[in-house]
C-alpha cells in the first residue's frame, strides 16, 4: 500500500483538450483523485444561431470527425421534429443503415487501436503489429469496410453530405446495396477472428465492479436493440421510457470545478452511457450472432464492470453487421425509389436523439418563422460519462492502492479508454525534432 503517491497523467494544453488524471496520496490517505477535462469550448451551440434549418446538420457534423454521421442524424431529426417534416420509410431505413456504418467504424477503431494494445500489454497499436500482425490487419480491413460503407450511403466517410431535412440527397442503387450486403456477409469471419483474438487476452481485462446507472435509448414499437428510434430508459427505471423531448430531465447537466465539460446525473449521482449501457438495457433484443458473442465472453445483462464496455462494443459489431444484412434485404424487397425532398421553414422547437457509438446524444434546436436557428442545446455522450468516470476512480483507487505505481496508472488510464471518450477534435499538428 502506497504511503505517498503522485500520479499526474497530464497531456494537455487548453488547445489540445483531452483529459488529465490526478492522484495525490499522502501518508496513506487519498488527498486528491480527479478526472479533469480542461477542454476548450467549441461554441457550436452559438455558431448555429442565425443559420438556416437546412444547414444545421452540415455545421454540427464538425463537432466530431469520428461521430460526424451521428451528430448529423441527431441534428436532422431535431430539425424535422421542430418543423414537422416527415421522412419516408425508405429514407428512414437508409439513415439507419448509414448510422450502422459509423458504429462499426468507431467500434473497430476503439477495439483495435485503443483497447487491444492495453489487453496485449503494448503501449500502442504500432508495437502491437509485431505481436499480433494478423489481428491488426483484420481490424484495419474491418475499418476500411465501414469507411466504404459510409462513403456509399453518407457520401463520404467523415462529415456526411447526403443528409437533409426530409430525406437524403442521394439513393444508392440496388446493385450497390447488394454489393454492400455481400461485403458484410464476407466480413463475418473477420469479426469472429477479431473476437477470438480479444478472447485470447480477455484475462487481462481488469476485474472491477461498481453498481452503476445505465442510460440508453429504448424502442418498444417494435422491440428493437436500437441506436436510432425510441425514448430514454435507465436500468433504475426499467419500465419507463422518457420521451426524448424531455431529455433535460434525464441529463440534468451541471458545472463542476475540475472540468470545463459539464457533468450529468439522473437517478444517482452519475450515470454511464455507451455500448455497455445499451447492452444492459436491451441485451435480449440482440441479433443471434451478437448473443453468441456475448456468451463467448461471459457478458451478461447487469454487468457493471466499465472495462467490459469494449467487449460490449465487439458484441454490437456482430449485431450491426447481421442487422444491416437484413435491413438491406428489406430495402431490396420494397425496391428503391428516387425521392424528391421538399421542406419549408416555419417556427418551431424540437429534439433529436440517437445513440452515438459512445452513448446517447441529444440535439435540440429552436427556429423562427423563417427557419433560422435562434437557440441550440447539445449534450454529448462523453460529457454524460465524465461524472461516472470520476465515481469509478473513487471506488477503484482504494482497491488497487497496493499495486505498483505503474500498474495503478495503467488501470486508471485503461478505465478512461474503456469509456471510448470522444474528447475534442481540436489541434493535431505534428511536433518534431530533426535527427537528420
Amino acid at each position: 500500500m502506497h504511503n505517498s503517491l503522485d500520479i499526474n497523467v497530464h497531456h494537455i494544453t487548453r488547445v489540445e483538450g483531452h483529459g488529465n488524471i490526478v492522484v495525490n496520496v499522502k501518508n496513506g490517505k487519498i488527498e486528491k483523485l480527479q478526472w479533469q477535462v480542461p477542454e476548450a469550448p467549441r461554441f457550436f451551440e452559438a455558431m448555429v444561431r442565425g443559420h438556416s434549418y437546412q444547414d444545421i446538420q452540415t455545421i454540427v457534423s464538425r463537432i466530431c470527425g469520428i461521430c460526424s454521421i451521428t451528430h448529423s442524424l441527431a441534428a436532422t431529426k431535431a430539425v424535422e421534429s421542430a418543423l414537422g417534416i416527415k421522412v419516408s420509410e425508405q429514407a428512414d431505413k437508409l439513415r439507419i443503415l448509414m448510422h450502422y456504418s459509423e458504429q462499426l467504424q468507431s467500434h473497430t477503431l476503439h477495439v483495435g487501436y485503443l483497447a487491444a494494445p492495453d489487453f496485449f500489454g503494448t503501449p500502442s497499436v504500432v508495437p502491437l503489429v509485431a505481436r499480433a500482425a494478423d489481428a491488426v490487419k483484420t481490424i484495419v480491413k474491418a475499418h476500411r469496410i465501414a469507411n466504404n460503407w459510409s462513403d456509399l450511403i453518407a457520401g463520404r466517410t467523415t462529415h456526411p453530405v447526403t443528409l437533409i431535412p426530409g430525406g437524403l440527397t442521394r439513393t444508392p442503387t440496388e446493385k450497390q446495396l447488394r454489393q454492400l450486403q455481400q461485403t458484410l456477409k464476407d466480413a463475418v469471419p473477420d469479426l469472429k477472428k477479431i473476437a477470438e483474438v480479444v478472447l485470447s487476452v480477455a484475462a487481462n481485462i481488469p476485474k472491477f465492479e461498481r453498481p452503476t446507472e445505465y442510460v440508453s435509448l429504448k424502442q418498444t414499437t417494435p422491440p428493437t436493440y436500437t441506436f436510432y428510434h425510441g425514448g430514454v430508459t435507465s436500468n433504475d427505471n426499467k419500465d419507463a421510457v422518457v420521451p426524448i423531448e424531455k431529455w433535460h430531465d434525464v441529463a440534468n447537466e451541471y458545472m463542476v470545478e475540475q472540468s470545463t465539460a459539464k457533468w450529468a446525473k439522473w437517478h444517482r449521482d452519475a450515470y454511464a452511457v455507451g455500448a455497455l449501457a445499451r447492452f444492459n438495457n436491451n441485451a435480449e433484443l440482440l441479433s443471434p450472432m451478437a448473443k453468441d458473442a456475448a456468451k463467448m465472453f461471459g457478458l451478461q445483462k447487469g454487468c457493471c464492470n466499465p472495462y467490459m464496455n469494449t467487449v460490449a462494443q465487439l458484441v454490437e459489431c456482430f449485431h450491426i453487421v447481421e442487422t444491416s444484412i437484413d435491413l438491406i434485404d428489406q430495402l431490396l424487397v420494397r425496391g428503391l425509389k428516387t425521392e424528391k425532398v421538399i421542406s419549408s421553414p416555419k417556427a418551431g422547437k424540437g429534439a433529436g436523439c440517437v445513440e452515438a457509438p459512445r452513448g446517447i446524444l441529444f440535439h435540440e434546436y429552436e427556429f423562427d418563422k423563417n427557419g433560422k436557428c435562434v437557440a441550440a442545446d447539445i449534450c454529448i455522450p462523453t460529457n454524460q460519462n465524465h461524472a461516472n468516470i470520476q465515481k469509478d476512480f473513487e471506488k477503484l483507487l482504494p482497491e488497487i492502492l497496493d499495486q505498483s505505481e505503474k500498474d495503478i496508472r495503467l488501470k486508471l488510464e485503461m478505465l478512461v479508454r474503456a469509456y471510448d471518450p470522444c474528447i475534442s477534435c481540436s489541434t493535431h499538428f505534428l511536433n518534431v525534432q530533426f535527427v537528420k
Partner: protein, 157 residues
C-alpha cells in the same frame, strides 16, 4: 463496392483544423492545389481534415504520398520545409485516451509495419505563426500560399 474507384498512384493529403488559424494551412493549400487537378491527372488531392486513423487508408498501397501539415519545427513562422518521415522523430506525447489523438508519423510507421506503405512519403511542414481561434491563416502564412503551392507542385512532376 462500386464506390471504390481505382486509387491514383500519387496522393496529396492536406491536414488541418480550419477553426484554428494556421492549424488549417494544409486544408487551405489542398484547396489551392486542387485548382490544378487537370495538370496532374495521376494525382489525387484529398482534404483529410484533422486526419486521424483514416490517413492509414488514404495512403495505403500508393506509390507516393505527399502530406501537407502545420508542423512545429522550431523554425521561423511561415517556413516551409520538405522532409521525409525518416528525417525526424516525433516529440508528440500521446495518452491514447481518445481516437482524436493521432500522430501522422506513428500512422506512417503502422502503414509500414502492415506492408502497405507508399514507396515514397514526403511531408511539407509549415511552421505556424498563430494557432488561435480563427477561420483564416495568419498574414504570415496566407501571404505565402502561392509560394507553398509552387514548392509542392515541384514534388508532383
Amino acid at each position: 463496392m462500386t464506390n471504390q474507384l481505382a486509387k491514383k498512384e500519387i496522393v496529396v493529403i492536406g491536414l488541418g483544423n480550419l477553426l484554428l488559424s494556421d492549424e488549417g494551412i494544409g486544408i487551405h493549400l489542398i484547396r489551392k492545389l486542387s485548382e490544378h487537378q487537370d495538370k496532374f491527372p495521376s494525382v489525387e488531392f484529398i482534404d483529410a481534415g484533422t486526419g486521424g486513423m483514416n490517413v492509414l487508408h488514404l495512403i495505403a498501397n500508393r506509390k507516393k504520398a505527399v502530406i501537407i501539415d502545420c508542423v512545429k519545427m522550431g523554425k521561423k513562422p511561415g517556413t516551409i520545409k520538405r522532409f521525409e518521415p525518416t528525417d525526424v522523430q516525433t516529440t508528440k506525447k500521446m495518452t491514447h485516451f481518445s481516437l482524436h489523438e493521432a500522430d501522422i508519423l506513428r500512422i506512417i510507421e503502422l502503414s509500414r509495419q502492415l506492408g502497405e506503405c507508399p514507396d515514397k512519403i514526403v511531408i511539407f511542414g509549415i511552421e505556424p505563426k498563430s494557432l488561435e481561434l480563427g477561420q483564416k491563416p495568419s498574414k504570415t502564412l496566407s501571404g505565402r500560399i502561392d509560394d507553398y503551392s509552387i514548392d509542392i507542385c515541384k514534388e508532383l512532376c
